[in-house]
């Protein structure tokens, strides 16, 4: 084999096994899922492909409530994550000094404790006889017999909690990367601290804000653990529906149609973002 041909083949040899794995167990299942979503039939007799596009319209109109809830809960949680973690990331990047590594460790610490178990801990924190509910009642934020567990508030608080590091880390990385001389230049040119922050720091941190928002919003949209453990069927999100359709009711076409709709919706978002900033930025900011 000529050296040139080998050069050209080499990267594909390196990529081959991993790429094959992803093609078979990631891409092909999605294609297969698209086919399943257009099938009709029932669990006993099996499903056949009939190009039943009405599966989509049925699924969306039957579960628009859960779809809406997923988007609203995930959206609110993303905004809360941004509000909570921007000052945290800013402090860590610019003001933390020797505590920087410690703060970063604390931000990722929850990752090393079981996700389900941490959510169970939230059940305990928000339980009806817990002190948090007591404080909320005394402050009049909820009424005498009001509860936190089994409400939208609890589910959103849980989602916000679980995905906070996904927002905080990309924000920190992009703030840390900013050349501080730009900010100094702004203040030297008589911009106030606020103006410099608004006109220099925030725009330069935008890739981190976008990446963090995606990394929070996407998993939050599909999450069903928080709704299952901290909510009731009245708080169920689209993930809960997909899971029960797939594993309990065995209504595969509806489940596939629902998860495909969710996927397409998210892919459009990513595509728009990738076009706006380039995927390199996205992956970089995500690390």
């Amino acid at each position: 084999m000529s050296l040139n041909a080998r050069r050209r083949l080499l990267p594909w040899l390196f990529l081959g096994p991993g790429l094959l794995w992803l093609l078979i167990f990631f891409l092909y299942p999605l294609v297969n899922q698209a086919a399943v979503s257009l099938m009709t039939g029932d669990p006993e007799h099996g499903y056949t492909l009939t190009w039943a596009f009405h599966n989509y319209t049925d699924a969306i109109s039957n579960y628009k409530e859960q779809f809406g809830r997923s988007i609203v809960y995930a959206g609110v949680a993303t905004i809360l994550c941004l509000v909570i973690s921007f000052p945290l990331a800013y402090f860590t990047a610019y003001k933390a000094g020797r505590f920087k590594s410690l703060i970063l460790l604390l931000i990722i610490l929850p990752f090393f404790m079981s996700y389900v178990l941490r959510t169970v801990a939230w059940q305990l924190i928000l339980s009806d006889d817990g002190w948090v509910v007591g404080v909320f009642q005394t402050l009049g934020l909820i009424d005498e017999n009001g509860r936190l567990l089994a409400t939208s508030t609890a589910v959103i608080a849980g989602i916000t909690y679980n995905f906070l590091p996904f927002m905080a880390l990309p924000l920190y990385v992009s703030l840390e990367k900013i050349d501080r001389r730009y900010i100094e230049a702004a203040t030297d040119l008589y911009a106030s601290r606020t103006t410099a922050f608004r006109k220099v720091t925030v725009p330069l941190a935008l890739p981190g804000i976008f990446a963090g928002s995606l990394l929070t919003f996407i998993p939050a949209c599909g999450d069903f653990i928080n709704a299952a453990l901290l909510g009731t069927p009245r708080q169920y999100m689209i993930g809960n529906v997909i899971q029960s359709k797939f594993l309990n009711i065995l209504d595969y076409p509806t489940a596939a149609a629902l998860s495909f709709t969710l996927m397409v919706f998210i892919l459009i978002g990513i595509f728009l973002y990738a076009r706006a900033l380039g995927t390199r930025n996205l992956t970089e900011a995500a690390i």
């Binding site: 990267p11 167990f25 860590t92 920087k100 090393f112 006889d129 106030s192 990394l215 797939f246 996927m263």
Partner: protein, 293 residues
């Protein structure tokens, strides 16, 4: 993604020279507010973890472990008392080990190809590898189960491993890529100029240099695998993993032994991370000493 952050020390920038700016007092107030806000945010992140650890010492009656009854070491003495729980944890550890080994092997080579070679279709592959990271887990899990159902594959241990490798590979690629991109290409070129073959260069130069990235990727993959509930719940069949056991137990109350085991895992990870940092420091010190000599 998180592990890389701590394993590669971020270069500290020289502190900006202190300047007398108008509104310095207001600035200090803002700094204080930022500090307090950060402490509160960290508390929000830390409290549930603390509660899990704390309630591993709770002297509770029965399985119900929701209110504090007093301190005991009882649960720590027999953490593996429940055979189902012990089995679930061993299964999770086995799966994590296998899935990590496979995904690190596959992902490292993919990262090498993506960073080291300019070839047609590179951007597409780059984007494709990133896609599993940006798909909701419920979609990945459901789609994979759909495949297994279509092919009449019985779900169980093997299908869980397949699923875990699938989502870990992308994380490995991203982590190792970050390390490779920060590496000086010239050192490898020098080795090859001095007559080393590509394979020798890879073994003696490239591999040792990206080893910290690979270690970080392996830890990340293992952590993700041990903790995964969503994708596993679709592809587990009758097999119980640690997260599946916990979720199943939430109905009757999670036994305190679960808190003990989760705390042990947390401590193990922290010790590993600490060791990783110490080894890195040692190595870079040795390198510096060598360069100086």
């Amino acid at each position: 993604m998180a592990v890389t952050e701590t394993s590669t020390p971020t270069p500290t920038r020289p502190a900006a020279a202190p300047r007398k700016a108008p509104g310095r007092g207001a600035g200090r107030a803002v700094d204080w507010a930022l500090g307090i806000w950060s402490v509160l945010a960290l508390a929000y992140l830390f409290i549930p973890v603390f509660i899990v650890v704390l309630f591993s010492f709770n002297d509770n009656q029965g399985r119900f472990n929701f209110t504090w009854q007093g301190f005991t070491l009882r649960h720590w003495q027999h953490p593996f008392a429940d055979p189902d729980l012990a089995k679930a944890l061993t299964t999770s550890l086995e799966i994590a080990l296998i899935a990590t080994a496979i995904s690190v092997a596959l992902g490292t080579f993919m990262a090498m190809a993506l960073v080291r070679y300019r070839f047609r279709g590179r951007t597409t592959v780059d984007f494709f590898v990133f896609m599993p990271l940006s798909s909701p887990e419920v979609v990945l899990g459901a789609a994979l189960l759909g495949l297994f159902l279509t092919l009449n594959v019985n779900t169980g241990f093997v299908t869980i491993v397949i699923a875990h490798v699938m989502f870990c590979v992308s994380y490995v690629v991203v982590t190792v890529k970050a390390r490779l991109e920060g590496m000086d290409r010239h050192i490898e070129e020098a080795a090859m100029d001095l007559g080393a073959t590509e394979w020798t260069t890879f073994r003696k130069i490239t591999l040792p240099m990206i080893a910290p990235g690979i270690a970080a990727a392996a830890m990340l993959a293992a952590a993700l695998s041990i903790d995964d509930y969503v994708i596993t719940s679709f592809n587990a069949g009758q097999t119980q993993t640690f997260p599946l056991y916990i979720f199943g137990a939430t109905r009757q109350g999670v036994p305190a032994e679960v808190n003990v085991l989760a705390t042990m895992l947390l401590v193990a990870v922290l010790v590993l991370m600490g060791l990783n940092v110490i080894v890195q420091r040692r190595l870079s010190k040795r390198d510096r000493a060598r360069t100086a000599a």
